[in-house]
């Protein structure tokens, strides 16, 4: 038993341990396709689904298929779910954590190149970006203006340019796994997480990816919520930047 275990550990050390975090809230219709694709085509990566207190058959699907899954007993919002993944990555000594959406928007095929460019450029965080090459699903016009605004705001606050600041497709190294495990924004976390990364002086690069439009279900951000979204995210980014202001001087 002990030798098998050592062998396993030895094998894992060869390639960098990579964990894919898949937050899922009522994604019963999508999750199977996403995870089966991962298991068959990308067995080199570990994955963990974070079932964020879903009320649909997500739990059942996970049990029947025997997926690696963390069930949150109550709904914590996307930020709380993703953070669970980072905690899991920290506690299980993963070197790299990747977050993708549970709805199949993000193509894991890009991951190998993203990891490569992370190592080549010694980056702390790689964001899969729709807007570098402008291919695939580009989101509606109004939304793009919102993203542009947040992107410019992030640039003003931190001096770091990230075009696709709301992209939920990002990977971080060990250092930021630890930081995010302790401190991750609650809802609509992506732009705020970018500010956290930047104020911790992490190197952020964007890697061009092609995103698909969602197949089932709707985006979590409806038109009605988008005003609240912009207001809340703007404020959150400002406060993040201010509360790190003193620390950055050191």
């Amino acid at each position: 038993m002990e030798t098998i275990r050592k062998e396993l550990v030895g094998k894992m050390d060869e390639s960098k341990k990579v964990l894919i975090i898949i937050p899922a809230y009522n994604e019963g219709d999508n999750i199977e396709k996403v995870v089966d694709n991962l298991i068959t085509n990308f067995p080199q990566y570990d994955y963990v689904i974070v079932n964020d207190g879903s009320t649909d058959h997500t739990r059942k699907v996970c049990r029947e298929r025997g997926y690696e899954v963390l069930h949150l007993p109550i709904n914590m919002g996307i930020g709380g779910a993703v953070q669970t993944g980072y905690r899991y990555a920290r506690d299980n000594d993963y070197e790299i954590a990747v977050q993708i959406d549970g709805d199949g928007q993000h193509d894991v095929g890009f991951l190998a190149q993203m990891i490569q460019s992370m190592q080549k450029e010694q980056a702390d965080c790689v964001i899969g970006s729709r807007f570098v090459e402008k291919e695939g699903f580009q989101s509606s016009g109004v939304r793009r203006i919102g993203i542009k605004f947040l992107s410019v705001l992030g640039w003003i606050l931190t001096g770091v340019k990230v075009k696709d600041i709301t992209s939920g497709y990002r990977l971080v190294n060990r250092r930021f796994i630890n930081i995010f495990a302790e401190d991750y924004p609650t809802d609509y976390p992506e732009p705020e997480a970018m500010v956290i990364t930047a104020v911790h002086k992490g190197k952020i690069i964007e890697y061009p990816v092609v995103m698909r439009d969602r197949e089932n279900g709707t985006s979590s951000i409806t038109l009605k919520k988008s005003v609240y979204y912009m207001f809340k995210v703007t404020l959150a980014m400002l406060i993040r930047r201010l509360s790190f202001g003193v620390r950055r001087q050191k």
Binding site: L70, H71, M76, G80, R87
Partner: protein, 128 residues
Amino acid sequence: MIPHTLQVTLSIAVICYFIIILYYLKKKMLELKYTLIWLVAGVIMGIMIYFPELLVWFVGQLGIESNMNGLYILCIAFIMMILMTLTSIVSRQQLKIRILVQELSMMEKRIRELEHDTEERTDDRESV
């Protein structure tokens, strides 16, 4: 300044106020930590019933001409302060719940896997 009858009524009210707080404390329905601010408020109310001049003086110091307006402003300020404390308590608890839920989910996964392993092992033994 305050008529005697009113003074008595108010005193009874304040006493009831304290009894309710103490009752809740005794029943452990209130955490003492969060009750201190209410107790302090009760003490201040008690003092003001017997020494209303203090309030008049204090309101005057603030530059408020009408005593009643001054009293209302003070009350609103105090209530806002308590509400802010409550919001902060709620936020802190939310953070704690978040950590609890996350740790719980990880523990649940470990138990699930352990149970699975044990089942397999017993199955193996039975088949042997």
